[in-house]
Symmetry: D2
Subunit: 149 residues, 4 copies
Amino acid sequence: MSLATYGDYAARTRESFARQPAMRAMGISIDDVAPGEVWLSMPFNPDFTQQHGFMHAGTIVSGLDTAAGFAAFTLMPEEAGVLTVELKTALMRPGKGQRFNFHARVVKPGRTILFTEAVAMAIDAGQEHEIARLSATMMAVEGRADIRG
Amino acid sequence: MSLATYGDYAARTRESFARQPAMRAMGISIDDVAPGEVWLSMPFNPDFTQQHGFMHAGTIVSGLDTAAGFAAFTLMPEEAGVLTVELKTALMRPGKGQRFNFHARVVKPGRTILFTEAVAMAIDAGQEHEIARLSATMMAVEGRADIRG
Amino acid sequence: MSLATYGDYAARTRESFARQPAMRAMGISIDDVAPGEVWLSMPFNPDFTQQHGFMHAGTIVSGLDTAAGFAAFTLMPEEAGVLTVELKTALMRPGKGQRFNFHARVVKPGRTILFTEAVAMAIDAGQEHEIARLSATMMAVEGRADIRG
Amino acid sequence: MSLATYGDYAARTRESFARQPAMRAMGISIDDVAPGEVWLSMPFNPDFTQQHGFMHAGTIVSGLDTAAGFAAFTLMPEEAGVLTVELKTALMRPGKGQRFNFHARVVKPGRTILFTEAVAMAIDAGQEHEIARLSATMMAVEGRADIRG
């Protein structure tokens, strides 16, 4: 699959990511960017745990959704923004570990609609476990062109 | 639909909710509890916005998922815990507003598997808009009985 | 919610439905149409059962998806067609019964993207049970304007 | 990932598949079986098309869901049956082609809950296109032990 990008897509992706206060609040950072792919990670953060002491499902979904949104963003024209239309997440194991990695990729690009998938891994005592998988529909918006409107 | 509860389910639900640091971090609080139903809300929180200044999709999903998980929890035996097996969220409008309400209910109870749905409303300049809808599968766990194991 | 329609949307919906061989093959018929809503039904059909003798999940999803697609179609301009972008179905009870009803409605209209939900009921020995619930994203296409392209 | 099977899982999977009238009706056959994996295929079938002459989304979902269910079934004990708890399907391209392949695999096994994914490919004029992707939760049932009950 040949994935076309526009201009310095990697710098644009990192800049847009940096403008998300929610990522700072949770301690999620961007590790790498490629055409149609993004890697994020976060250390275990006790402020975002649930009642059993594991990372909250909502935080795992936040990492997966953001990775997937920016994976789509890497393929969009310079003036475009990205919105999530819908997402599904399978939560396969508890969010237990010292570090969490989120890897997303575009499985079907498109001018307006992009299909994405992402995987969350927990690193727990040196072992890596797949804890969640996301499937999400992303949308490119330019100006006020929110096609959900 | 007659929904059986166990003991003081409402107090147990509020106590378990209070043990979720992630809810405190995002400023989400519990407003009301009924058999198979939970209402949460949060004020606009600039720390959890995305790059356009709206609430981050991950935060909206966190509120919806937590409401749905505790809606399921209201119907569980005293020693049980709740885990999300999977969730899907349709993001219909931007997370734009001064306040956000999350209302979840169990659409099909069960001993181990409970099907739930939830709706997120934004209150923006006095007007209420439905911004997202969740469908999620919840699981009751007792002791180490994680049936995903 | 005021839902605008175009021309004789009901006749157009019934005509488009009648051009789906898959509906004839499964014995699914259209019962009623309203702005943003469609009702379908089918009798128990032994040709579309699974290994336990109940209606196959795929057939239940076919009824739900088609109801939701045409619920979206009722709100589209005369020259538009409808495509499913994605769907999620919760299968809450076995597809056991003598008759199955599918009721879908648009939960958020839009020019290009429409969010829909649908419910499948089984009528079994005179009793009605909710067996499945769908959440789906529908897309309006005009000419070759497949925004997934 | 080491995936344990029970007895002659492959023969059991093929026998259970053969007892699904819905598969015969749509012309879907089983091509191959491995631990945690199943391959199905069907020729283009005009009886299961939608109004544009492409395979109906419901039929594509039927193939994906069945492949995923039996991929889970390959890992279950001899007396167990499989039920779909929920499924999500992303429909990325039209169901246009002369032949359709469905490949499913278990992404996280478990005694009661198994997480699965599947991909649908269309072969159109000698070219293979990915047209849909499924993420589904499967459940093992023994006797009357429907944990949705």
